[in-house]
Symmetry: C2
Subunit: 405 residues, 2 copies
């Protein structure tokens, strides 16, 4: 069977194939392989936003706040927790940006471990994670213990065991490594960190909506993630934050705003944190920007995160197949894990000079993700990407890689 | 001339009257008097958002970032600065929430005055301003010097002169007091604070888009404000922050994210702040939530902030006229200043038991703003509110106040 026929057969057998038609068309795009950077909008999202602007914002005006908007950060957080994160209600909020939530949660964590002076993190984490912690370390007089990871290994439990000790306040890693797509062993790393008395903060930006997560079961203390990748929330959509029930009384985030107050509308003197997860909020919730999440969580609940993961692995298996057959002979290296148990939702390919292919790829309607200096990330979002789309995109990549050899 | 005829005459003579038709209809609303809490959406906003979702997000996908989204926080900041804030380019960004920007700017300010240990602020400022500073004071070991203001006076320069000294790092006030609508004398308070060597941070939430502001000319150091009131950005729309050019090298905000980095997409090791105002950014910009601002700034530029202010004063003059004629005999007190030079964009009325009127007012389609314990705020947005609308709303309020005497 040809690789094109394989794609057609996989599409024909795909139980999620019909979901692809729910997304808005992108007429100039032949192959969208960047669901790991920005998810596509649903037709339902466009309708929902238009209805929201005209009927809710425009029609109800401030009455919308008491109609329900005020609860959206918690309601959507709970729903997201149930559909994608394995989090029981009352532990997840939608708010701010990933960076701001990272700051709030990391500050809350290190401030709750006043005797401990180090934070363990890895050199290959997403920049904002590293930068936020650098800032916090400087202001709180902490030391950063950098675990050296590279794209060929991901973060390993043995590295964490070596790094943590009784001086560790917090460990911070990504569940799916943004560059390589390596999947960390979250429960085992949590076990190691907790044995040393440290708290754990996980960045779920590249997992949420793609790789099932079991925050409660895995013993995660704190987590953040974004909603604009596999959750299709739109560019710069609000982030989510998770704070385990048992820590909500003892961890206090530093940005004390009116929406985290016990009684926001009393507007009284003196900040008193709300009980529970609401205390993680600071300012007025970004309601308009949360509208898409309603449609996206409906979709994800209907499809089921396990089915999404199953298709994701089939898609990335197929990417590996095409890469081995077409791209390896052209000097392209697969950086991501071949073991499905250690593989996130995207495959990173590496070849010197990939940067030059970006413009011709875009011109041909093929949109992968590029990470300096030499990585192309292929991130097919399971709900919006067909196997044939992957085939066609990588065929064009192959032709261009041959031409620019 | 009857009060209704006066409204009709004022509407007939209103040069901004036609702008009202640009807003989306709210069929169940007779009189919307809460532009100071949530501005109404434009018809153009609904179209722009739909086009954005379908053509930009849906059609261009990640290409949108290089098409221009990455620059929106600065481009919209500059435009807002020019249209409404009297701020030259390169000093204003759109980002985060007001609360988060307050935190970032206030931290930057007090950290830049390490020898000074007090922050001067007033007891009647909006809760989030007070709460944010309480948190910062606790974490940085600062003292808060509270100036006692009440709704009858607003914050006066002589109070500030008495409060600041060589130990003051920062003063924080609102330009328009959220409860009473009093307008602070910004240039004079800045002069006093600067004489003592303190920095000034102004909250413009209740001024932006309603009362002209001259940040550069008035010598403001830092400012924040929201875009969902008179700027019609939508519920929870991103905030704006201003940091004077001359302070951008020395003031450093604490939430070091990838979007404030000198070279976000190098994703290298070690945070290096971007030059200029970009360093005020932290996370991925909330693009979808910024779409309405494009339409709103077009509208405001077309109308002109001075014409908006002129109509705003006419509207609040007319509110005062109705209040004196109809409401004073019913025991309703006007809290806001009668002097137009000291009056913001809203009028606060006070009577014990106003809370009971809220439900019947809403049922009658009249939507003012309520502030505990006994204040109704009448905030007619100049671009979307007619004099007749004010007349009709306050007539219903009068009838209800009579009934619930």
């Amino acid at each position: 069977m040809s690789l094109a026929d394989r794609a057609a057969a996989l599409d024909a057998a795909d139980p999620l194939a019909a979901f692809r038609d729910r997304f808005l068309p992108a007429p100039s795009v032949v192959s969208y392989l960047d669901g790991n950077s920005l998810g596509r909008p649903l037709e339902a999202t466009a309708r929902l936003i238009d209805d929201f602007v005209r009927d809710q914002w425009g029609g109800r005006l401030i009455q919308g706040w008491t109609d329900g908007w005020l609860e959206w950060p918690l309601v959507l957080g709970d729903r997201l927790g149930a559909v994608a994160l394995g989090a029981a209600p009352g532990q997840t909020v939608v708010a701010d940006s990933t960076t701001v939530l990272l700051y709030k949660l990391a500050r809350a964590a290190v401030d709750a471990r006043p005797g401990r002076r180090t934070v363990v993190l890895d050199t290959d984490n997403f920049p904002t994670d590293r930068y936020v912690l650098e800032g916090i370390a400087a202001e709180r007089g902490l030391l950063l213990h950098w675990v050296e990871t590279d794209q060929a290994t991901g973060i390993r439990p043995d590295q964490v065991a070596e790094a943590v000790d009784e001086d560790t306040a917090l460990v911070l890693f990504s569940h799916v490594a943004y560059r390589s797509g390596w999947l960390a062993d979250v429960p085992e790393i949590n076990r190691i960190a907790h044995e040393a008395g440290a708290l754990t903060l996980w960045d779920l930006c590249h997992s949420a909506g793609s790789v099932p997560v079991q925050l409660d079961e895995w013993g995660v203390d704190l987590a953040v993630g974004c909603s604009y990748k596999y959750l299709n929330g739109g560019p710069g959509a609000p982030a989510f934050g998770y704070l385990r029930h048992s820590l909500q009384d003892s961890l206090k985030q530093p940005i004390q705003g009116w929406m985290g107050h016990r009684a926001s509308f009393e507007m009284g003197h003196g900040y008193e944190a709300a009980p529970g997860i609401r205390a993680l909020l600071s300012g007025t919730p970004p309601i308009l920007a949360m509208v898409p999440m309603h449609a996206n969580l409906d979709l994800l609940a209907e499809a089921g995160i396990d089915a999404v993961r199953a298709k994701s692995l089939q898609l990335t298996d197929y990417v590996l197949e095409l890469a081995d057959e077409w791209l390896a002979p052209l000097g392209v290296e697969v950086v991501s894990p071949r073991d499905p148990a250690r593989r996130g939702g995207h495959i990173t390919l590496r070849r010197a000079g990939f940067e030059q292919l970006l413009a011709p790829l875009w011109e041909s309607g093929v949109i992968p993700d590029y990470r300096r200096p030499d990585g192309l990330r292929i991130g097919p979002a399971p709900l919006s990407t067909s196997f044939t789309e992957v085939h066609d995109g990588l065929a064009i990549l192959r032709d261009l890689a041959e031409k620019h050899r």
